[in-house]
Symmetry: C6
Subunit: 270 residues, 6 copies
């Protein structure tokens, strides 16, 4: 029952992750990758950006190192630091340096959450120099052609305080993501949960209703991920309205009036 | 007279914790648990969320590791850190890594109090990857099926500064908690304190009076926990009005006019 | 002439501290203590809360460990930390863990001054679990029945920034403190300083005059402690008006007009 | 030409520091000292508070340990900390613990500049307990009768952010300081610099002119210290107007119009 | 496939970096360099400042040490620090000290992002003293004639909070950079990507359209770097409009209306 | 080509630094120095304050230790700290302690940039006690007569946040600095660069034009230092208008209209 531990050499994705392309994002990623240009994935939460990265890492057969960015992620957390071992200080690569050294893909999830020093540390990697200076070692790592830098952000959250500087933005090729088309989304839900096609269609309809409420009381609409959650609960025998309420409505908002309204939407469908 | 010390292997709850379900929360928890979906418990303070988690941990026979979140809880506090021992640095798992490694339940109490990096560190555990990257070890822990992530928060406290990001919310199945129905609440008080049923009923009535004052001078009404406190004092021989004042009214507010008003309510009952 | 050093085992109060009860606070404390409920002492500065705690610790024959809370008190300061000794790291209990381990009384003075993580760390100790998780040891301390948690705060200082959260408040039985009645206060002053009863009465009158100015130019009125200070100076031969000015008026305010007004009050009495 | 180093045992003031009392401050200090009450010195900068403390330390033949308070002074800076030496951690007393241990006088200069934790750490020393808990050692230092706690602040600077809390103020006996009377101030200047009595009188007149400007363009008037500076420059042959400008006017303000006005005042005198 | 590592001695640029001068910036740099005056490069992102520095380092045959500045870059990061090795502390030069010691060029990229202490640490290097005090060693490094200090910033980003102090600015000779003339820019794109001259011309036209939108909804116009990105994607077979959208429009803005407008501009060209 | 390293004993200025006095600042400095009074140098950037200090250090034959102040300069950076060496902690003096110990001149450049704790640490050195308490050693350093404390600041930058406290100001004798008279300034430029006297005169005229713009679009006018920069470029063959633009106008401002206006001024002269 113990957790499985794997080491960096095992950051390779072995089995093809299920991914349904919504546009030409796969071709665009490959063109940028082969031109050694860094990538910026834009789109709302839960629409498949992380899954897409896993799919591309599998396609290109490169190890994928994902870093969830946050306010307290320091440049050292990315590049590496010295640790004391047996009385001596030993250098330990951070995830970014590891990705550069092994020609992997480094994916910085929600980059706008990072502190400015994290964002700046990738600048020399994200232009045609493609180098990572490790000041503390007095070294410069030169990326192999296989290394790829990618990052994601959700433009919907962009605020004055949490914005990408132009000197950062203007180094990346951007890929736009959005929710899949209704048919595709129902297909994805079915594939992930083996739920009835009819119920999957209703869930997608329900999702669209919530997405129309974005900006009218909801910060975001239901993501594909939430539909999968609800479908799983329904397959396990939970009443569809309770499943929609627990897995979708309550995940979207705490406002009691909005919750009532959204529940009425689900009752109208199930 | 010394405190009893127990080790992680003893995080198992051995005796069934007393818990009265208020709705279908037990079934919903089990459905989410068996689908390996993370859980979010919403509800006011003192209504039994922590007790519910202890009950479920006992039901599922999994160790329960509870973390009270706060502003200064770092990602390292959750994941682990290196400590120096005998001149060497030794890795010590944090509570989250321990729960993942042993297939336990990790319960993050009052998650909105946590810093953003704590919230972000659980993202890869809270989607279908179910992994915990330990950057400092260069390892990725893959959760066993038995691992469960749960967190609580009180929507009543939600402010602009302390809100869950959509990219966090949209990973969890939510369970709603509220105060029990009058009969059930009186039964709980009686069970915990062996107080007279008539006095328990009066305490519940008193609680409802204070709950109606929520938003009209009180931030919160009296929780079930406070009723149990007052009942214990009464059983020990404290005058019911003094018990209500000390254990309930003074715990709710410092405002002298509100205190007078609440005391009049208790005097009208006892 | 050197300071006397004493060790934790000596935190027991050996001689009965002088304390005059103002209401049923002793009985209420004992009822809560025997029901293993934590205590919150509310009241203005200098009215005897600390002395009361020393009295109760003596009554119950438990060691008393007092912690003055402040902005920089960390959870580690309370719970404990690792120190390096002879090359190894050794765990050293903080005052809270020490109190739990030895079944003592831990008194957190001015709790609202503490950082949020200090307040949160006591949550599992302050509900019916009565445990102190020591994350850094991977241990859970279970309190013996003798352990008692108490904390104080002055509702007069309560501000939006420095307030107790409902999830903290709703765990404690509250005891209200205020200045003693005139007769009792004069008796206390006499007992502490052997001053003339007539002068003690005048000091109490003077104190009441300043207490009426609370909210009208004074943040607080004179506490019993300040009356004792003035009485000591008078017994040492200082002119009563100068004693009132130095020990009371100047301790209350820096405002030159208020100082004039308060001095006129003392001149009218002495 | 090297600096002289002296150790704590040498904190005793050997030669009588020159001090001219302005009121009954010496008697009041002694009464408070013998009643073991802590002292608060209030008054503007440069009016002799530090010199007074040196004088009292000499009178009472106690070592004087002065700490200039500031925003970054931690509780550990006052109480002490562990240092590593030869692989072990060794405890080193801070100035406050040193003063308690050796029965000295600890003088906290400009206490309102200190962080809240510094202020709080002195609470148990500043009431009738007169103890200094050293949490990190698990020890409590009990002050000998000879120990004295004193602190200074300038009420003129008092702001909302930098104010003494009532729970701190209401522990101290306050001594008020102000500039000496004209005759006394001229005597002091003459004593410190051997300047002509006539010039000393003019300097005092000049000082009074600037003190009338307080609140009308000047934050503070010229202190006695500045008069001594100007007198020293004049004795060294500097032109009196240039001396007043450099040692007094420029020390008071940067405002060019105020500087002009103050220079005209000095020209009218010299 | 592993990254190439090189050491400080290899900071020399071996091959001539392609650079098209836009004015007399090369002569001006050389005049300042030979007079040992520090240099400030002003200009928008992506217009070639970094490439210019590489070109000058190659011309002058000096090692080039580039530091990307950010909020968390400390003075120690630039000057150096002690590291523990084999039980002893060993001094390790930072990039600035390394550049001074070896007579290299230290280039501080985006200096306004740095903390004030970083900016101040260069003051003694940036006036005629040309020294770097290393306080922690008690040493002063005197720059050899070959050492050169350069820094860049983008005046467009200048805000009240992130401004260069006059005491910093007034130490540097400034070089102005801007986008190249249309012909030159097309030549650069062709040289970097081997794209058709006609398409390169269209890309430059497109860039000018976006540059006219600066201040009218765009923070910045498309840089030369973005044109090179789009050209690379086009050469790889990506549709020119998709290439302009992904590599240029999406890199400039997230605003959906601006994106529509910019896309119409590209459609009008391709 | 390597940098020259020199040790503290070599902080003596060996050759007379070129300095043209603008008023009686040399005499005033010497009078203050011999009376052991600390000095405050006020004046705009680039007008020669640092050069004056080097000149005085040479005149008095005392080592000069300069510290550029900034937000992150701690009291420990000035006073000293413990470093680990061979397993033991060794005390290392900071620049201030070094200056006191060796009777040198400590010059704190731009003192208002320093944190409050830096400013406070110099208080006991800057009054008649002339001592530096080293709390961490439990030592007090008594300054020898030769020690001198000096600091500079630019009143033009003075803001509410960055102001000297009265308790700091009122310890120093102030010296006022300003730009030299036209003839003197031309002489200085000629002496530093060997430029034609006629061109030097024009540069001074140009500087005066920019100084009249102070407060009308410019934060500061051109300092003498900038004139020397421009002169050096002109001597190296750079066109005078380009030299004025690069070395002066661009160093003063980024505002394009101001730049145009200033360039017209230079074109009118050269």
């Amino acid at each position: 029952m113990n957790a499985r531990v794997f080491k960096p050499e095992a950051y390779l994705i072995e089995q093809q992750p299920y991914y349904e392309p919504i546009s030409s994002e796969i071709e665009l990623f490959e063109a940028a990758y082969h031109n050694q240009l860094p990538l910026l994935l834009k789109g709302p939460t839960g629409c498949g950006k992380t899954r897409f990265m896993e799919h591309m890492a599998w396609r290109l057969q490169r190890p994928l190192i994902t870093v969830s960015c946050h306010d307290d992620l320091t440049a050292s957390d990315l590049v590496g630091r010295f640790l004391v071992s047996g009385g001596d200080t030993v250098w330990v690569d951070g995830p970014l340096a590891r990705a550069v050294r092994h020609g992997g893909i480094c994916y910085l999830d929600e980059i706008v959450e990072a502190r400015k020093d994290t964002t700046v540390v990738i600048h020399p990697l994200a232009d045609d120099r493609r180098v990572l200076p490790i000041e503390k070692l007095g070294e410069i790592l030169v990326s192999p052609a296989e290394f790829c830098l990618a990052m994601s952000y959700n433009p919907g959250y962009q605020s004055v305080l949490k914005d990408l500087k132009q000197s950062t933005r203007q180094r990346f090729v951007a890929l736009e993501f959005d929710y899949p088309s209704p048919n595709l989304e129902a297909k994805i839900i079915g594939n992930e949960t083996q739920i009835d096609a009819a119920v999957a269609d209703k869930l997608v309809k329900f999702a669209h209703m919530t997405r129309h409420l974005k900006g009218n009381g909801l910060e975001e609409g239901a993501s594909t991920r939430l539909l999968v959650h609800a479908a799983k609960l329904i397959v396990s025998g939970v009443n569809p309205n309770l499943a929609c309420r627990s897995a979708i409505a309550q995940a979207l908002t705490d406002d009691s009036e909005m919750l009532l309204a959204i529940n009425e939407l689900s009752v109208s469908l199930f």
